[in-house]
């Protein structure tokens, strides 16, 4: 891959573009750009990887929180698509496990180091002629009338996340034989020979206050993206009270107890309409609820909401009436109708992207079973609501082009699990 032209981009965009390109030369260019041959000072990981939580998705305790107590995801993300190159056997499992442990030894589990998961698709489990035992993991399918997505039909996916762009690049390079050392630690085992990377399925992104506004030189990202917005759509997300807990999304029974399922939908977002054509009142109505807009509950980027999305039972239950009598419903209020006993079903770890040089979102959600995701998406579709599509939350602005379902096994089973590891 060719490296981006440094002279044509802002520093942040250049680094973002390097993460998007990936590989050893992008890594060294990234280290140059951050101004140090050795890169940033990154804390090392643990000598005893077995001491890490059994749940691969147990990130929250290791992540920072904002002043309101909302969990903050790392700034930089890479999704590495993997195709299995070998038979699944003990040797391949051992290689995989040792390669992943190398990352855990090299990097502290957290923002300054690295957090990651590896997940497996239904296509991976096809070789066992069985679905993973006691896990709801169907093949991906379209979840709305107006979409014709492609599907993640490769075998596995690594999700790498860090506040340091050079760390996600280096970790990936180390796993695929492009780097002898990761954070100073020698790479003895990598994934070469077990997995091939699918470069054209590699996805990248970012999250965090101000990052979206750094990308206004990308076509389709208007100057109107607020300076302090953490997401492209201009508002905070991931409010504590609208996120499922890690417990809530963890598989409780069967051989994969301690694991979770992951759905990733990748989509383009039309920000031109969102920012240049609509007003703040309309954006708040469509993203949260008309009452959020009427009562000015959000502040300019959602900061006034604190740790709560402000979705009271009343506001959730008002969805149908808001549609019929107000002509608009909010995305958040509508999706919250899928809550179970008042509890959200999804733990969102989504992030924005400019992959393909246009603004988008990789919507990564964890849930106990994919059926929970489908339930939320159906609530979001709002086919039952008497409202114009353009005013039906944010559907008008989103264009899903890819979906994938994954099992994130518990850490002890993360290396090439069979469909029923207990048998």
């Amino acid at each position: 891959m060719t490296l981006p032209d440094q002279s044509a981009l802002s520093r942040r965009d250049y680094i973002r573009a390097l993460v998007a390109v990936g590989g050893a030369s992008a890594l060294s260019a990234c280290l140059d750009a951050v101004g140090s041959d050795d890169g940033p000072d990154v804390p090392s990981g643990t000598d005893n990887p077995a001491s890490l939580p059994d749940r691969q998705h147990a990130w929250n305790d290791a992540l920072a929180r904002d002043d309101d107590g909302n969990v903050q995801l790392p700034d930089h993300h890479v999704l590495v698509a993997l195709s299995l190159e070998t038979e699944v056997d003990d040797e391949a499992r051992e290689t995989t496990e040792q390669a992943l442990r190398t990352l855990e030894r090299a990097y502290e589990w957290g923002h300054e180091g690295l957090v990651f998961t590896i997940g497996y698709t239904p296509a991976y489990f096809d070789r066992f002629e069985a679905s993973p035992a006691e896990v709801d993991l169907p093949e991906p399918e379209p979840l709305a009338d107006d979409e014709t997505p492609e599907y993640d039909e490769f075998d596995a996916l690594l999700h790498l996340a860090s506040d340091h762009p050079s760390v996600v690049l280096e970790a990936e390079a180390g796993l695929f034989g492009e780097r002898d050392r990761v954070n100073g630690l020698e790479v003895e085992t990598d994934l070469t020979g077990v997995f091939d990377r699918l470069d054209d399925r590699r996805r990248t992104g970012f999250i965090g206050e101000g990052l979206p506004a750094e990308h206004t030189d990308v076509s389709g990202v208007p100057d109107a993206v607020p300076e302090d917005a953490p997401f492209f759509m201009g508002f905070r997300a991931g409010f504590t009270d609208s996120q499922a807990t890690e417990d809530r999304v963890t598989i409780e029974d069967g051989p994969f107890a301690g694991g979770t399922t992951q759905h990733i939908s990748s989509m383009a977002i039309n920000l031109t309409q969102w920012f240049d054509q609509e007003n703040h009142y309309q954006r708040v109505s469509k993203l949260f609820s008309p009452e959020h807009a009427d009562e000015e509950l959000t502040g300019s980027v959602g900061e006034a909401l604190g740790a709560s999305s402000g979705l009271t039972t009343d506001r959730i239950e008002a969805t149908e009436v808001d549609a019929r009598e107000g002509g608009v419903v909010g995305h958040a209020q509508k999706a919250a109708r899928a809550r179970e006993d008042g509890q959200p079903l999804l733990l969102r770890r989504d992030f924005n992207t400019v992959d393909g040089d246009q603004p988008g979102l990789h919507f990564l959600a964890l849930q106990r079973g994919i059926d929970h995701f489908v339930r939320v998406r159906e609530a979001m579709n709002g086919d039952d609501l008497d409202v114009a599509t353009a005013n039906n939350g944010i559907l008008h602005y989103l264009f899903v082009d890819r979906r994938g379902n994954y099992l994130i096994p518990p850490r002890p089973l993360r290396a090439l699990p069979s469909a029923d590891p207990t048998s």
Partner: protein, 458 residues
């Protein structure tokens, strides 16, 4: 002289009076409220002509359909097939329009083009079998491409109404440079309730692709083709006639725009000299394509290749069966849409179909068809509730469901008990039409008070 030059550059029809006839106004009920204040015409940067003409505004327009400042020029492309539907693309220059989201004071937003290089991209969609224009927002999408590469993000175009184009999908689309662009249109399955010849149809997603070239010739045609009207009539109540009168009717004669000549005869106490509007002799021939002869010699349109594009006009009153509900004060069914009962300047055709009609089930069927007053453009994505009363007692309160019928096109319907003469039906508009508007429609159909109708004496 500066001003005169500016006018000529923009093919002002004329800056003197007595040329109103060229407008071919479709109805013109009122001359009050015309604002002739100081809208400057001479502060235009000359280079605007290249890509985007000046957008002149009417100061303080009425809360009603009004005559805009200009007639937009556009290029019509050859209609393309999309499954069982046809898509007719139309391209104009980028210009402001108004989007509607909700009911409150902040629910209307004027949106200006982000970029003067580009087009206002529009398309009308209709069912090939019935010719019915599909006037609802079920989530159409477009992606503009050039040399196989996406240009900008995908877009869900807005549903819009315009006096010239009627109901259409559209948005301003920025184009980075001159060249040939490909547009892919995706139409999702129709999720709106359908009846009659449309029932059970259009349930598949469909796509269509068209191409266009953005270049000097295009700009010459559409930017140079803008027709500014005499300031005296800006903001008058009335509307431009549809730019294209498709022969593609709904099986009724509702497309006979000669009807509009009659507006002067519908006395509403306005002292308006309608003769002006019939007088085309003053038309100074800037552009014969715009010679909207009130007699509507459709032969004219054969010169263009787009005579088969239907305009989204709903049928005229006499095309509807059943008992047409009337204004209790008037008592009679009018002849033309303009004289129907109104709310928010929308006209309401409401009829009760007896239980033997195909649209009725066990009970009678209340069909409510709100439309623009002059061009009968359907008003989509409203929500309304009808309350039926007899002798002061409520018989039924029904939410009306948006429906597209193979004969009557867009309407809102509900089952109601069999009604008797003297029963009243009150229409409460909870949500006004959630469709974007071109100039001349943005102040109408927003505040829509209760409308009381009555079953007339037979």
């Amino acid at each position: 002289m500066q001003e005169t030059n500016a006018i000529n550059r923009r093919t002002f029809v004329s800056y003197t009076a007595a040329t109103a006839g060229v407008l071919a106004l479709a109805g013109c009920a009122d001359t009050d409220g015309t604002d002739t204040d100081d809208t400057d015409t001479d502060d235009t940067a000359e280079d605007d002509l290249e890509t985007m003409p000046e957008f002149l505004e009417v100061e303080d327009p009425p809360d009603a359909v009004y005559v805009p400042t200009h007639r937009e020029a556009m290029r019509m492309l050859e209609p393309v097939e999309a499954g069982d539907m046809m898509v007719a693309p139309m391209l104009s220059y980028p210009h402001p329009f108004w989007i509607v989201a909700g009911t409150g004071a902040d629910s209307l937003e004027r949106t200006d083009p982000e970029d003067d290089r580009g087009v206002h991209m529009m398309f009308t969609v209709w069912d090939r079998e019935t010719g019915v224009v599909l006037p609802v927002d079920d989530g159409a999408q477009i992606q503009v491409e050039r040399d196989g590469e996406s240009v900008g993000s995908p877009v869900s175009p807005w549903t819009m109404i315009s006096q010239e184009m009627g109901f259409h999908f559209g948005d301003n689309v920025s184009l980075p440079e001159d060249g040939t662009y490909t547009v892919e249109v995706t139409l999702p399955p129709l999720s709106t309730r359908t009846t009659g010849d449309l029932e059970g149809r259009l349930e598949e997603s469909a796509t269509a692709t068209f191409e266009f070239t953005y270049d000097d010739e295009f700009r010459h045609e559409v930017v140079g083709g803008v027709e500014y009207f005499d300031e005296d009539i800006w903001g008058e109540r009335g509307a431009l006639e549809p730019m294209d009168h498709g022969e593609h009717g709904h099986g009724d004669d509702g497309h006979d725009h000669g009807d509009h000549d009659d507006h002067g005869d519908h006395e509403e106490g306005h002292n308006h000299d309608h003769e002006d509007h019939d007088d085309h002799a003053d038309h100074d021939g800037h552009d014969d394509e715009h010679d909207h002869d009130d007699g509507h010699d459709h032969g004219d349109h054969d010169e263009h290749d787009h005579h088969a594009v239907p305009y989204s006009a709903l049928p005229e009153i006499d095309a509807y069966p059943g008992t047409i509900l009337v204004d209790p004060e008037e008592g009679d069914v009018p002849d033309v849409t303009e004289d129907l009962p109104e709310s928010g300047d929308a006209r309401f055709l409401a009829t009760v179909l007896e239980s033997d009609h195909r649209l009725a089930e066990a009970e009678a069927y209340l069909l409510v068809s709100p439309r623009t007053p002059y061009n009968r453009v359907p008003l989509a994505d409203m929500s309304m509730t009808a309350t039926v009363e007899r002798d002061g007692e409520v018989l039924e309160e029904s939410a009306l469901e948006q429906t597209i019928d193979g004969t009557y096109d867009l309407h809102y319907g509900a089952s109601v008990p069999e009604l008797e003469a003297g029963d009243t039906v009150t229409i409460e508009t909870e949500t006004p039409p959630q469709v974007a508007r071109h100039q001349g429609y943005e102040t109408a159909f927003l505040e829509m008070p209760l409308l009381e109708l009555q079953v007339p004496e037979q």
